[in-house]
């Protein structure tokens, strides 16, 4: 059986998603340390469980692609790349575990991570938020708050935000940006108030 283009697209999509997820996990893990935040550390843990499933799906997809013997080296490369994203996710989990186990991060760690200007935060979209029912493109989150959404958790699903993704009440948005935007972002998602608009 020849490898169909559709099958291959699935493999590539899955790999890109695993790569993005593992990198997101590192960002979240360092942020959980910086803020000594159990909430963020728990997201890393949830993503780690999700990664395990993704990785299994990915390996099954690769193995079921019906490649020819002479192509096996190329496919081994794919399998190995998948393993690497899993290793990175494990490393992120080890960092988050420091927080989950209540080992208070040493001040040195805070200094090391603070050298980065960006922060990562998570909020749950409340029913009263103006974001509910809007597409990411219409929500103008980055324009309003300076934070951009990295990933959306909906129940046990993780979605990569695309311009057409519709935000629902109960979604957990994980966003990165400069620390100043955090309060505006939280207000916007929790529906407490409209974000403060800068007067021009």
């Amino acid at each position: 059986m020849a490898l169909t283009e559709e099958h291959f697209k699935k493999i590539v999509d899955k790999l890109v998603f695993m790569k993005d997820t593992s990198e997101l996990m590192i960002d979240l893990a360092y942020s959980s340390l910086l803020l000594n935040s159990r909430a963020l550390a728990e997201e890393v843990e949830a993503l780690e469980n999700h990664m395990d499933d993704l990785h299994t799906d990915f390996e099954l997809l690769v193995l079921s692609s019906g490649f020819k013997p002479e192509e096996s080296k190329d496919f081994l490369g794919l399998i190995r790349l998948g393993v690497v994203t899993e290793e990175i996710a494990d490393a992120a989990m080890e960092i988050a575990d420091v927080v989950l186990r209540g080992l208070e991060p040493h001040p040195i760690l805070r200094l090391v991570i603070e050298e980065a200007e960006e922060t990562v935060t998570r909020v749950t979209v409340s029913k009263t938020s103006t974001l509910v029912g809007k597409k990411i493109r219409e929500a103008q989150i980055q324009e309003e708050t300076g934070m951009w959404v990295l990933v959306i958790r909906r129940g046990t699903w993780w979605l990569r935000p695309r311009p057409d993704t519709v935000i629902k009440a109960g979604d957990v948005l994980i966003a990165a940006g400069y620390a100043e935007g955090e309060a505006d972002f939280e207000a916007l998602a929790s529906g407490v108030k409209e974000p403060v608009k800068q007067e021009e």
Binding site: P105, I108, V112
Partner: protein, 201 residues
């Protein structure tokens, strides 16, 4: 296989060493994926060079952290430092694993490369030859970002790594520049560094 370098204790700032390690591990991941996508042995070799530095830092951080503990309370706090250093080291190991895939010619399926190649930016390594016009110039004066759309993200000078070099940093003969930019821009930087072209368009 080459013999590993011996590790000697050296008093250092754990904060500085861990910051360096974190920065290096992040650059390594970027470099390693680029090496895989463009099947670049050059970039893969740089990843392994960085890996040596990170391994060294990991040992030194462990030694200094152990010496810093005076009582059980200290030990508890410092365990977090050791755990984070170990995890950061693991990230750099993962990058080195990607580099090995490339260097062992296991290969990445060409269709995957095609899918990733649409990424507009790429990383590249440029070695500065003695007859290059870049020699002795300050990075800021070269205005590489404005002129050819390339950003030098790191310089390797023998065994030293200069991460995110400042505008005042002077480029020396033999420097290895790690740069990020559009494909034609990084090709131009390589030609400039090799002394093949003498001016920027």
């Amino acid at each position: 296989m080459a013999e590993s370098d011996k590790i000697e204790y050296r008093p250092i700032s754990v904060r500085e060493a861990l910051t360096e390690m974190k920065d290096l591990s992040e650059i390594m991941i970027d470099l390693a994926y680029s090496a895989a996508l463009f099947n670049s042995h050059e970039l893969a070799e740089e990843v392994l060079e960085l890996e040596k530095r990170v391994d060294y830092l990991a040992y030194i951080i462990d030694m200094n952290t152990m010496l810093a503990a005076r009582d059980a309370e200290d030990a508890k706090h410092l365990t977090a430092v050791i755990t984070v250093a170990a995890a950061t080291n693991k990230i750099s190991d993962a990058a080195a694993d990607i580099a090995s895939i490339v260097l062992k010619d296991i290969g990445i399926h060409p269709i995957v490369r095609k899918a990733f190649e649409q990424v507009e930016e790429r990383l590249a390594r440029a070695i500065v030859k003695p007859n290059s016009i870049l020699v002795k110039k300050k990075l800021g004066d070269l205005e590489l970002a404005a002129k050819i759309g390339v950003d030098v993200i790191a310089i390797r000078r023998h065994l030293e790594w200069i991460i995110d070099p400042s505008e005042g940093e002077r480029i020396l003969e033999g420097d290895v520049l790690i740069a990020r930019g559009a494909p034609h821009g990084v090709d131009e930087l390589k030609a400039l560094a090799a002394g093949e072209i003498k001016e920027m368009e």
